[in-house]
């Protein structure tokens, strides 16, 4: 087996193996449908309730792509933010109609409307992006970006930024340990952690800046700037199912649009 074949990704799951541009289309159309469905108001309270069943699509899609565990992991993180947004929105937007009251806390109707709309829009859109990024490797994305005509330099910036997140995380742990060894307290209550913030953040950022200088030189010594057609060791294959997926997602989007328009007209 040649190295080129070894480096190629062999994904058994047909959904995860889709070409990145096809996944991007799904993500964009799904986000568009989410916005549209958010404008459909249900019942006497005019709540955008359809967003809630619509959200079921994301976990089902993730389960079908074989990444349900990773989805749950990411979902719990998004959920914490969404809950905060939901509470703040529902309590802070005043209106004439009070839906629910506990002592001095009042939940107004327009607050609840806005809370449902915002929190489920975020859940839906963040969820579909989680699906795309968890099923696609960085190198697939960069290859697809370059193939779609993006400048290789821009593609490099995009991918190295994504990879840098992991590396900065590792570096920050190293710096934290170093600062702890010098007596900076990094564990404890909020105040203690806040005090440790600057002594650990400043070296992290300054280090990243000086490192980037050397990385520029590395790229230069490896001929990154040479004007010629680049070759690629990594080959990205289409599964052949992309047109089907594209057509299905376009049909669903059209159906949502027709539904929305029909509700307006009727």
């Amino acid at each position: 087996m040649t190295w080129r074949e070894k480096l190629r990704l062999h994904k058994s799951n047909p959904l995860a193996a889709l070409y990145p541009s096809s996944k991007l289309l799904v993500v964009l159309l799904y986000s568009f449908c989410t916005m549209l469905i958010g404008t459909i108001k249900v019942g006497a309270g005019h709540y955008p309730l359809w967003l809630i069943p619509w959200f079921l699509v994301v976990p089902v899609l993730c389960a079908a792509s074989g990444i349900f565990k990773r989805f749950c992991h990411a979902f719990t993180k998004v959920l914490a933010i969404v809950v905060i947004i939901f509470v703040v929105q529902s309590l802070l937007i005043p209106d004439k109609v009070v839906v629910w009251q506990l002592g001095f806390l009042k939940v107004y109707q327009s607050g609840l409307q806005s809370a449902i709309y915002l929190s489920f829009c975020i859940l839906n859109i963040a969820g579909i992006f989680v699906w795309m990024f968890q099923t696609t490797e960085y190198k697939e994305m960069s290859r697809a970006l370059e193939d779609s005509g993006m400048d290789y330099k821009a593609a490099y910036v995009f991918i190295s930024t994504l990879q840098m997140i992991n590396i900065l995380g590792k570096n920050s742990r190293t710096i934290m340990n170093a600062q702890r060894a010098r007596g900076v307290e990094t564990q404890g209550n909020m105040l203690v952690r806040a005090k440790a913030f600057f002594p650990s953040l400043v070296p992290l950022i300054l280090g990243a800046i000086t490192n980037s200088e050397e990385r520029v030189l590395t790229l230069e010594s490896k001929g990154f700037d040479v004007k010629c057609k680049k070759t690629h060791l990594f080959e990205l294959e289409r599964t052949g199912k992309e047109p089907v997926v594209n057509v299905i997602s376009i049909i669903i989007t059209l159906a949502v649009v027709v539904w929305r328009v029909a509700l307006w007209v009727l």
């Binding site: 190295w3 480096l7 490099y156 991918i159 590395t218 001929g223 010629c228 070759t231 060791l233």
Partner: protein, 286 residues
């Protein structure tokens, strides 16, 4: 053998500094020779490498007077990337020499070749060969960021060697290596020398310079204080006063001569030491 690199009265200062990093520096690098560059920290060794590679002053800015010529042409007149096929430059810090966009080591080593648009079949063949030479074939499928410092250093060397430049500028390639790893890096460099490449190596491990290099350049506070054949330079005891490290064997040899042991010359490597001291002792016995 012709000159491939020439520095003529070069004085260079980094931006925002008052004292120049290199002062009135002149030297000629000849084709196919192995040059060891030694000197204390801050003596200007890395600056010399950057100047030869053209990073100074093009990238670092700063002030340059005098000429830095590579194949008779000033470095600043080369197009971007043009010098990378002529001069391979391996930096000190192996961590920053990882491209940051590849997730296997095989692709990392291939990165430079991809940039030059080398056909894929040839990339595969060349990368496989260089990985065997540098002994990293076992790591081929690992993530480059997850390697140890020593492994990263070998990767850094491999990803430059694979470009097959005629001149190699290597800045402290063994700073993170154990003795065994150091030896293996020097074996790689020796193999490069056998391929008739010109090598400029900055290194603190003086015994290895004595063993492998042809010529030695000694830098001190931005000046070239001594240069020439390693045998002459490394047996010059006056360099010790300037804080330059010399091989243990050379120090031993010159002390023995002072004590009256008739050595035919000052040895700089173990093999030479064993030879001349052995000869002198036999003579003494007779």
């Amino acid at each position: 053998m012709g000159a491939v690199i020439e520095l003529k009265n070069v004085t260079y200062s980094y931006p925002l500094t008052d004292t120049p990093a290199l002062k009135d520096f002149s030297c000629t690098i000849e084709e196919g020779k192995f040059y060891g560059v030694i000197g204390s920290n801050g003596a200007g060794k890395t600056t010399l490498c950057s100047l030869i590679r053209g990073f100074a002053p093009d990238f670092f800015k700063g002030e340059l007077s005098g000429d830095v010529l590579v194949y008779g042409k000033p470095t600043s007149e080369y197009a971007p990337g043009e010098l990378s096929l002529k001069i391979g430059y391996v930096f000190q810090n192996p961590f920053n020499q990882i491209s940051g966009v590849k997730d296997t080591l095989f692709e990392e080593v291939a990165f430079g070749l991809e940039n030059f648009g080398v056909p894929v079949d040839e990339i595969e063949e060349r990368v496989t060969r260089v990985m065997e030479l540098t002994n990293i074939t076992d790591l081929a499928e690992k993530n480059p960021f997850e390697l140890s410092g020593g492994q990263q250093q070998r990767v850094a060397l491999a990803s430059i060697i694979v470009l097959e430049p005629d001149i190699l500028v290597i800045d402290e390639p063994t700073s993170q290596l154990d003795p065994e790893g150091t030896e293996s890096v020097f074996k790689i460099i020796k193999a490069m020398k056998e391929q008739k490449k010109t090598i400029i190596l900055v290194e603190h491990k003086i015994d290895l310079i004595a063993e492998y290099a042809d010529e030695v350049l000694v830098l001190h506070e931005g000046e070239l204080i001594r240069s020439g054949d390693k045998q002459q330079v490394l047996s010059d005891m006056s360099l010790l006063e300037k804080g330059v490290q010399l091989p243990q064997m050379a120090i031993l040899g010159s002390r023995l001569i002072q004590q009256g042991l008739p050595l035919s010359y000052v040895p700089i490597t173990e093999a030479q030491g064993a030879q001349v001291i052995g000869q002198a002792m036999q003579k003494g016995r007779v």
